[in-house]
């Protein structure tokens, strides 16, 4: 069965839980996406920009010293080498090309770590569109370099002061903007979250990661890997790399942020510790209290600091198609440091969660073939890490 169904459901997850004002915009987006998904010109243009602008295909790099250390054969999918420094650009190019065809001149987006904001501001500059990025006030502080990047790219960055002042609140505010300016505005959602058709559309734009891995690993090793590991906040890089390997023998592992620990109540692991609920227009696992109030997530990595998760991940979890683990702030920091020193690659703190999971996976995966999605690079996290290491920049 191909998911989602015609109403955007992955089993009981997904759907469209939005104010009536947006129903027309979602229907238009769905119709446009359906049309252009199969359109030759659209796909050629998308391929062109992915190749010549974003820098695809990204390498699948055999991490020799990391492999030696863990006694397994470890490859890194180098999404950190994409233009703007993370996989997010795959999706923003796709959505911006769609916006252009839908004749929407104004672009809005939410951002947590700032990677999606930068990737959106980048394509808005590339295609000459007016761009407004909502970012939690807390995140504008943690990710100051990305705020400057967005501004340099010509975007307006709007700090959000409501709620926990992080990604979820930025997304609320972006949805409110969309409700208000729906006629001329295209909302580029950065993850496989939000109402239908976003989870499916963003997934489709990120599948390029997994398709490349399939080709590259077969060239290198003549077979599929035994494991694929990726971090999960909203879950777009994970779904992108997992999707072509679903229902195969490859073991797929998503890594959520355990923050201060799963039992601390301060984490970003809705699949491990949340309940089913509705957030930002779709049904999925959500961190919430007994009355359904959404609780604040916590992760050292702003990109994983989100109380929800893409609905298709909830479906994967319920059907055992992907297994999900978690990594604490401390473990992620250790991996951040370790990868920098063993491979000369400074990973994003988000991706450091996937790297850190090797510590748990390797003992039972001796001699196995593992692919880790290195979804982004760590330049944006230098201030966060400097603060922890008590270094003055």
């Amino acid at each position: 069965m191909i998911l989602p169904d015609s109403e955007g459901h992955f089993g009981k997850f997904g759907g469209k839980y939005v104010p009536e004002t947006l129903m027309k915009a979602l229907a238009e987006l769905e119709a446009a996406y359906k049309k252009y998904k199969k359109d030759k010109d659209f796909n050629e243009e998308l391929s062109y920009y992915l190749r010549h602008y974003a820098g695809r295909p990204t390498p699948l790099y055999f991490a020799e010293r990391l492999s030696k250390h863990y006694g397994a054969k470890i490859y890194l999918k180098r999404e950190d080498l994409c233009h703007t420094g993370a996989h997010k650009i795959n999706n923003t190019i796709g959505q911006a090309l769609l916006a252009k065809r839908m004749r929407k001149t104004r672009i809005i987006a939410e951002t947590g770590a700032g990677q999606h904001g930068v990737a959106t501001a980048t394509v808005a500059a590339l295609f000459g569109m007016d761009c407004h990025i909502y970012m939690g006030e807390e995140d504008t502080k943690r990710q100051a370099p990305n705020v400057l990047r967005m501004k340099l790219l010509g975007a307006e960055v709007i700090p959000v002061f409501s709620g926990s002042k992080t990604l979820k609140d930025a997304m609320n505010e972006a949805i409110r903007d969309w409700v208000t300016n729906v006629e001329n505005t295209f909302y580029i959602i950065g993850s496989v979250a939000g109402p239908h058709p976003y989870p499916a559309m963003v997934r489709d734009f990120q599948i390029v990661i997994g398709k490349e891995v399939k080709k590259q690993i077969r060239e290198e090793e003549g077979r599929d890997p035994d494991y694929i590991v990726a971090c999960v906040g909203g879950g777009s890089n994970a779904i992108g790399i997992f999707y072509p390997f679903l229902n195969t023998k490859v073991e797929l592992i998503g890594v959520e942020a355990a923050g201060f620990g799963l039992e601390s109540g301060k984490h970003g692991a809705p699949l491990a510790k949340g309940d089913i609920g509705v957030l930002h227009g779709s049904m999925s696992y959500v961190i919430q209290d007994e009355f359904g109030q959404i609780e604040e997530a916590h992760s050292i990595s702003a990109g994983l600091d989100y109380p929800g998760v893409g609905p298709e991940h909830s479906y994967f979890k319920e059907h055992g198609l992907v297994s999900y683990g978690s990594i604490t702030d401390k473990e992620a920091l250790r991996a951040f440091d370790f990868l920098s020193k063993t491979e000369g690659i400074i990973p994003a703190l988000e991706s450091a969660h996937a790297i850190a999971y090797l510590e748990k996976l390797a003992p039972k995966a001796k001699e196995k073939l593992i692919v880790v999605n290195l979804s982004g690079r760590g330049d944006k996290d230098l201030e966060t890490v400097a603060e922890i290491l008590k270094v003055k920049l």
Binding site: T21, R176, V182, L279, I294
Partner: protein, 263 residues
Amino acid sequence: MSRIKQKFEQLKKSNNKAFIPYVMGGYPTLDACERLVEILAEQGADIIEIGIPYSDPLADGPTIQKASQVALSHGANTRNIFEMIKSLRKKMDTPLVIMTYYNTIYHYGEKRFAEEAASVGVDGVIVPDLPPEEARSWLTLAKENALDTIFLISPTSSDDRIKKIVSVSSGFVYCVSLTGVTGARKSLPSELSGFLLKIRAQTDKPLAVGFGISSGNLAKEASRLADGIIIGSALMDLIDDSSIEYDKIGKFVKNIKLAIEGS
């Protein structure tokens, strides 16, 4: 016959329009809120909407967002707001409608929510992020518990959607005056009358206009082609976080009632 339906029939007979104020449940406190609802009823509110605060109210502007946060921080929750309604129901016959987001209902348990709401004397619910497509299970439970479910129509709704929404909406139909979030505005869109006529062409159910109405003049304008008007943010703007000046509220309500009389 539901209390809401009865109310609209009464109003129609006397050639009057419904004044439907909205208050955030538990804002600024549960006690103050309960007193506020009583005052509103005394001053002639025809139907009263009571919000259950939600952490992420994405259809709401700054006023209701702030009221939700304050109410939550003062401990308001589904259970104690139901308790408040139970106490109010003993004192008044005014139709009471819950307005909240779907997750507060879903997580509480749709069945439990519907049963408890009905048992404390709630007459209907408005859930701005629950379109008819996602409302099948809720609608069954609401009907079983004799609760009206009031759906929203917006200026962007197509004719097909309007048809669908008016067919499932009970009690009344909530006509969102503008494309945007809740909040007091200085004027209403010029397309409002065309929008209401378009809906009227599809249904005989009562139409209530909400979003943006902030004064007697706008109330009058909005009520002309509808059966009632809803005022939330402008009313909440009169309340500060710690106390309510009930005199000020009384005056505001009187002014609105006067403005829509016989319109």
